[in-house]
């Protein structure tokens, strides 16, 4: 037991940005002002990284959770819809596939769809289309269509979900307004020193203007700096760079796309990858790269040469060490956001990891004392989330046949045991296990594995006595039905214009894949 807390619990959030304001928004929603004071210290002199321009569907649940109307959100942050990530050049230089927020195909005779697809591929069925073409979300992304999914699991349109591309800075501003209206205190200040109790718990923050801010629970949202969790408490950091070798990024905005795609684009380059995120008012672009294989000048040149629209600014550099804080909650300090770890934005998981941390913090929120029990539980849960996202990211790099030095290194580098076991099992039987806790389920793994040309050596033994023609006919009919559905949908830009009625969207669910799968 540490740190006896006083009657009105004082929560101090150091750092604004998306992590700080998301935390403040959620805490102020659930913790009554009469019993809790929430203060956010943010210095306007310190820039924010602005992570999370591309999101995953869980953001809708978060917004609903804190009472943010989706229509208001879309307007305020210049959002566009997102149904998938398009991966170009991954695995092979010519490869092009989508990782959708949705399922591909449907189980047949109790066997997963991908087993049939792979089996027909082995039988060289000429009508067989790419795996993604059996996903409604992929067809919608390819045709730039959008409609809300159906919440009725019997309908084909229930097998996808959607997220947003958004301006993270505007999102932080929206949340700040939301928080201030709820009574959250905002201080524009910089921290000069951190005072601790004899137990090691943080007692107060000494501000540069001379004020001292005491608190009972401190949330560190200071990004890579980790002012409290690392500079003060020395929580330690697990460096995962040997598995995810990119260590730098450049970000630059460009003119908006008048017909914004309904997907994030991730284009593999010689020593990393380039993102393109369409917003209503601009396009977000960036290059993630490994400095051991590409210098900063070359990277800048590469990024600017790859823009589809005119740049609006100079590229902004970012250095990072991929990994995770060994303990996200230490003493009376909880790290949320980049202060608790960094995983590159390849799968748009930054805001999700913030959101999960906030949910776990609320579920484990301490009382008048902070005990090892809630700290342990929080740290265990976050460790699992980070590790499982990490493995999925490594998969993108590991599965490649590209000739460049960087990619050859990735193809031969050692990988974590947890990922190695999944890969070997998949190659053995074509099967993938579901996680109970963790974001990416078999539908996501398959999209990447098949998209990057990773096929199992053998398939489910039950397929041996099936008739390829009959199965192929079923697949053709199914795919035509999806195509027909897609072409009845409005274009993405039309949907953005017309979906302006509050409450018209389907309820948010905690699943990447829509309304058929378990959250």
């Amino acid at each position: 037991m540490t740190a006896a807390l006083v009657e009105r619990q004082r929560i101090v959030i150091l750092g604004g940005g998306t992590a700080g304001w998301m935390t403040a928004a959620a805490l102020s929603k659930y913790l009554p002002a009469a019993r809790f004071s929430i203060q956010v210290i943010e210095s306007t002199q310190i820039g924010t990284v602005g992570v999370g321009e591309a999101t995953i569907p869980h953001i809708r649940q978060f917004n609903q959770w804190i009472g943010l109307d989706e229509t208001e959100f879309i307007r305020a942050v210049g959002a566009t819809y997102k149904l998938a990530i398009r991966f170009s050049g991954w695995g092979e230089a010519e490869a092009d596939y989508y990782h959708p927020f949705g399922l591909s195909g449907e189980d047949l005779n109790g066997l997963p769809f991908h087993q049939y697809w792979l089996w027909l591929r082995q039988h060289q069925q000429s009508d067989l289309k790419a795996f993604g073409d059996y996903s409604l979300a992929v067809l919608m992304a390819q045709n730039n269509r959008f409609r809300y999914p159906s919440a009725d699991p019997r309908e084909a349109c229930s097998a996808f979900n959607y997220a947003f591309h958004m301006d993270a800075t505007l999102y932080a501003q929206l949340l700040r307004r939301h928080c201030l209206a709820r009574g959250v205190q905002w201080l524009d200040a910089r921290v000069a020193a951190v005072h601790q109790h004899a137990s090691g718990d943080i007692r107060a923050l000494q501000l540069e203007d001379g004020r001292q801010l005491a608190g009972d629970l401190f949330i560190d949202c200071t990004g890579f700096a980790g002012v409290l969790i690392e500079q003060t408490l020395r929580a330690g950091y697990d460096n995962w760079q040997h598995w995810l070798p990119c260590d730098r990024a450049l970000a630059v905005p460009s003119q908006p796309d008048p017909t914004p795609p309904v997907y994030t684009h991730a284009l593999a380059t010689a020593a990393g990858w380039q993102w393109r995120i369409p917003l209503q008012h601009r396009t977000g672009n960036g290059l993630v790269y490994a400095s051991a294989y590409l210098d900063d000048a070359q990277a800048s040149e590469l990024l600017l040469a790859g823009l589809q629209e005119q740049a609006l600014d100079e590229p902004r550099p970012l250095r990072f060490v991929t990994g995770r804080r060994r303990q996200s909650w230490l003493k009376n300090c909880v790290a949320i956001g980049l202060s608790s770890g960094f995983l590159e934005p390849l799968e748009s998981t930054s805001l999700y990891l913030i959101q999960v941390a906030i949910q776990q913090l609320l579920a484990c929120f301490p009382g008048d004392t902070v005990s090892e029990v809630e700290r342990d539980h929080f740290n265990r849960s976050m460790e699992l989330e980070y590790q499982r996202v990490r493995d999925f990211l490594i998969l993108h790099y590991k599965l490649n046949h590209r000739p460049e030095l960087f990619w050859r290194h990735c193809a031969t580098m050692p990988i974590p045991d947890s990922l190695a076991q999944r890969l070997v099992m998949y190659r053995e039987t074509g099967h993938l296990l579901e996680y109970r806790q963790g974001l990416f389920q078999p539908a996501s793994w398959l999209a990447v594995m098949l998209g990057q040309g990773c096929y199992p050596e053998r398939l489910d033994a039950r397929l041996d006595n099936q008739r390829p023609d009959a199965v192929a006919e079923w697949l053709t009919g199914y795919q035509q039905q999806l195509q027909s559905l897609t072409h009845q949908m409005p274009l993405h830009s039309q949907a953005l214009q017309s979906n302006q009625h509050p409450g018209s969207q389907p309820p948010a669910v905690q699943s990447l894949y829509g309304y058929r799968s378990r959250p």
Binding site: Y30, L31, A363, F365, D376, R427, A461, R462
Partner: protein, 472 residues
């Protein structure tokens, strides 16, 4: 698919494995042979939870048929009584609690309902969550009605399993398997022949017959001298007692727990003790003194199991399932879970080491979750689950279906643990509002139970082959 599966074992596990594997793989052309070997006697009953419906779905059979053929009764959960601990501790609270399969409250998706209820109860004279649990209310009042198919809310609240007569169930499963083309062979002894690469190539029966094997499911409990920790089990049938309440009963006794499974015609008692701590004579004397003269039989259960169930082309199901065959747990759940998982990832060759490794990892997780549940019956605060509940009123996210969160929470609450902290997600709710909402829920549940027929009436209808008309 030209595959030969040989299933070795006895009694219930052999029959469950044969039926499940045959039903799932026969349509794909797999041939199954079940080799029956002699073994220890088995208790006369089987208690199952809602996983039974999964088994029925896989077999393509209805639970009504099973109930009819195995002359069983309904099972809404476990009615625990613990007068010993409470008296010893001088506790004033109830020495009785209910661990249901169905959820608390009216809606399964109601977030934080259990946490809200626990907070509310902390300020009330009444101590238990049972008045807010339809399954507990029904079970304690000896009532039950099968929820109609279109009432998913009631189905979730009254999620149920069955108690079944073991002999009747085994006979029914065997007939089912035979219809699926399973060949049954009796053998006193058998030997397996391994290939040079390691997998079992054939099983040699004592009579000289040789069965070729692509995959072997060994459902025999550990044979010969059992090493390590062993628990002894006593069980007896009692034809004098009727089905009574639609639940398993578990009462704390000086050496552990005495469990009762009601059947259509009588009941079966089971208990388990550690022979290092308790003498069988003392246990027997207590049982005779409290339950009258019954024909008690003895068998043993090894408590430690190997980490690897799947090695080469063989699943060693018996030795691992045996370790979880406690009277406090369902007899079929672990075997069913392992078989379903194996069928999901059906091997396509004699050696699938990576698949086997992941399967074994799943088993270890499943075992850990069930063992935690068993451990917290005696020493809840020695488990992470118990400590987490005592602090936050929550339980960890499970990685398998071994135990439901509601079972963990109601068990821990029943054992006397009280969450130290209220849910922070509910602080906005005024206590008066919470109290009013809970009172309303309680009235709704009371009305539902009042209108239910008795368990005996519902059971009689089902055993007569009539539809179990609900009355709500």
């Amino acid at each position: 698919m030209n595959m030969q599966i040989v299933i070795l074992g006895q009694g219930l596990w052999l029959q469950v494995a044969a039926a499940l594997v045959a039903s799932q793989l026969r349509p794909w052309g797999v041939r199954c042979t079940a080799v029956e070997v002699p073994g220890e006697p088995e208790p006369g009953s089987v208690a199952s939870g809602p996983e039974l419906h999964g088994l029925c779905r896989l077999l393509g059979q209805s639970w009504q048929e099973l109930l009819l053929k195995a002359r069983g009764s309904f099972n809404l959960g476990t009615d625990y009584r613990d007068a010993l601990t409470h008296q010893a501790a001088g506790a004033a609270g109830p020495a009785r609690w209910f661990v249901p399969f169905g959820h608390l409250g009216l809606k399964s998706e109601a977030a934080e309902f259990a946490q809200g209820l626990f907070s509310y109860l902390a300020g009330q004279a009444e101590q238990g969550p049972e008045p807010y649990c339809l399954a507990a209310l029904a079970a304690w009042q000896g009532k039950f009605a099968v929820p109609p198919a279109n009432r998913t809310d009631l189905r979730d609240m009254l999620d149920f399993g069955l108690h079944l007569d073991r002999q009747g169930l085994c006979a029914w499963l065997r007939r089912f398997s035979e219809r699926q083309g399973v060949r049954f062979v009796a053998a006193d002894a058998l030997f397996s022949a391994q290939t040079a690469q390691g997998p079992i190539a054939s099983v040699q029966l004592a009579g000289g017959e040789s069965l070729p094997v692509d995959f072997c499911l060994d459902c025999r409990p550990r044979t010969g001298v059992k090493s390590g920790a062993v628990m002894l089990q006593l069980f007896a049938g009692d034809p004098q007692q009727g089905p009574g309440k639609p639940c398993t009963s578990a009462e704390r006794v000086p050496w552990g727990w005495l469990v009762r499974h009601p059947l259509a015609n009588g009941c079966v008692w089971q208990t388990e003790f550690d022979p290092q701590v308790q003498k069988r004579d003392q246990v027997q004397a207590w049982l005779d003194g409290n339950l009258g003269a019954l024909d008690w039989q003895l068998r043993s259960r090894q408590t430690s199991s190997p980490d690897e169930v799947w090695t080469g082309n063989c699943l060693q199901l018996g030795p691992v399932v045996e370790t979880l065959d406690s009277p406090l747990l369902g007899a079929m759940g672990p075997l069913q879970a392992l078989l379903v998982s194996w069928l999901d990832m059906l091997p396509n060759q004699a050696s699938c080491p990576a698949t086997a490794r992941l399967f074994n990892g799943y088993w270890q997780q499943y075992r850990e979750e069930l063992n935690t549940y068993l451990t917290l019956h005696e020493t809840p605060l020695e488990t992470h689950t118990g400590r987490l509940f005592a602090r936050l009123g929550r339980v960890p996210t499970a990685e398998t279906d071994a135990v439901r969160p509601v079972q963990l929470m109601t068990m821990l609450y029943g054992l006397g643990l009280r969450p130290e902290l209220p849910s922070r997600l509910l602080l906005d709710n005024e206590p008066a509002q919470v109290g009013a909402a809970l009172a309303q829920i309680r009235r709704r549940l009371d009305t539902l139970v009042t209108n239910m027929p008795s368990h005996a009436q519902t059971l009689a209808r089902c055993l007569d082959g009539r539809p179990a008309h609900p009355s709500y």
